[in-house]
């Protein structure tokens, strides 16, 4: 490594560059996410009635399901931006992929925490090796591996290519994991939205779920924008290090 840059000049340089300043002003987005989260909390705990069979525990569902949707969406985005990176080789695509992977792992962790909290009173056990549970857990492991791999590759370009390969292969694997385990064993409740005959939610519950979904999605975008900005700054810092070293 080369001699360190003088203090502050690096940061000043970073902020003078174009892409780092993009998405700097996210106040409106943050405010919207905060208000929606507050409103969703009010709805979940104050205005939505208790579920008949499960009682108050069922309220976890309003956050558990949006967490799962957002996590899956984030992993899908890793897949998309990994393909884009391999095709176009722009640094921001790699930044987008890694940001989505980290935020996705965060939400996937929340799914894996809220799920057992609900399952203990309802199923009587915290965990069962059921199709959805196991495939969520495997998904979580795959993207933890993705982040671990990135930590052990020095070169920026190699790191981007290798993690893109893992991001693509890992996501292609998701349906296989799901179907193989589903064939093996399943006890997770069937989807209540668009789940076919005999499924469905009372309108008030469905509306609460959608409000939670909007709130969590906004929260996801807030986290993603911050993580993305951090990654872009990191990339620029690495470029500056290389320039300073050369």
């Amino acid at each position: 490594m080369s001699a360190p840059l003088p203090n502050n000049t690096g940061a000043a340089l970073l902020y003078s560059k174009g892409c780092a300043t993009r998405f700097r002003n996210t106040f409106a987005l943050d405010l919207a996410a905060l208000l929606m989260l507050a409103y969703s909390l009010c709805r979940v705990f104050l205005t939505t009635p208790n579920e008949k069979m499960q009682g108050t525990v069922q309220r976890i569902f309003y956050y558990h399901v949006p967490f799962a949707w957002v996590a899956l969406f984030a992993f899908f985005m890793v897949f998309i931006f990994s393909i884009l990176y391999l095709a176009r080789r722009r640094e921001w695509m790699d930044a987008m992929a890694v940001s989505n992977a980290e935020v996705g792992v965060f939400f996937c962790t929340l799914v894996l925490i809220t799920g057992p909290l609900w399952a203990k009173p309802v199923w009587g056990v915290y965990w069962d090796w059921d199709a959805r549970l196991t495939s969520t857990f495997v998904l979580w492991l795959i993207y933890l591996g993705y982040m671990l791999l990135r930590a052990f590759v020095h070169d920026t370009h190699r790191r981007a290519v290798l993690s893109a390969a893992v991001g693509i292969f890992g996501f292609l694997d998701v349906p296989l994991v799901y179907f193989s385990i589903r064939l093996f064993n399943t006890q997770h409740p069937k989807p209540v939205i668009a789940g076919g005959e005999g499924s469905g939610l009372a309108p008030v519950m469905r509306n609460t779920l959608f409000i939670c979904l909007i709130a969590i999605t906004l929260f996801y975008v807030c986290l993603l924008v911050r993580r993305y900005r951090l990654e872009r700054l990191r990339q620029e810092a690495e470029t500056l290090w290389e320039e300073a070293g050369a």
């Binding site: 391999l86 590759v153 693509i168 292969f169 292609l172």
Partner: protein, 195 residues
């Protein structure tokens, strides 16, 4: 389906066999790119005229041969130690499961060995990355093998038919895995090894 075989000798034997194969693979896959990286001989291989995916195919065939050798050793030993009835017949019946499962595992293993060979701590990273990804192949292989063993060892015609139907289901899963793994590996190998 699961409760019928749970804890029976079929599950035990198929589990033992596939644990041996999975461990052998994890240790073996890393070697096939590790020594190439250490000696910088991979660069030479990639300079050869022709399609680069040939390198992937060659490495995969080597890993397949390695795993088949392990299986050729483990299967008779499993018969020796667990003495299931009609073991020879069972080995014949589980050949397609064995072949497809080993193929999928070897393809995924070779690609991930190529990926992790670029990193420090590659011997540690390979199993961490490979095992979650190989979950569908391993589940389908273990279950398919158990079904084949059950079909061979049962006296009841009904149980045999059920086991065979269920084995065919697992073979379909394995075929789906193999097709997707091979396509993805052929596509991703090129960017992974480029300099």
């Amino acid at each position: 389906m699961r409760t019928e075989t749970l804890g029976g000798p079929e599950t035990l034997i198929s589990g033992m066999v596939w644990v041996a194969v999975a461990f052998a693979g994890m240790l073996g896959f890393g070697r096939c790119f590790g020594s190439e990286k250490d000696d910088r001989s991979l660069d030479g291989l990639l300079l050869l005229p022709g399609d680069r995916s040939a390198v992937l195919v060659g490495k995969t065939l080597f890993n397949l041969a390695l795993l088949f050798a392990v299986e050729a050793l483990v299967l008779p030993l499993a018969g020796l130690f667990f003495h299931p009835p009609e073991w020879g017949c069972a080995i014949l019946m589980l050949t397609p499961v064995l072949f497809l499962g080993t193929l999928g595992y070897a393809v995924a293993g070779t690609l991930f060995a190529a990926i992790t060979s670029n990193t420090r701590l590659r011997d540690l990273l390979l199993p961490i990355l490979l095992l979650p990804v190989a979950v569908p192949v391993l589940i389908a292989s273990v279950e398919g093998t158990a079904m084949a063993v059950q079909a061979a060892s049962t006296d009841s015609v009904l149980v045999r038919q059920e086991s065979l139907v269920s084995m065919k289901g697992w073979i379909r899963v394995l075929i789906a895995c193999d097709v997707i793994y091979i396509a993805a590996a052929l596509w991703l190998f090129e960017p992974v090894v480029e300099e």
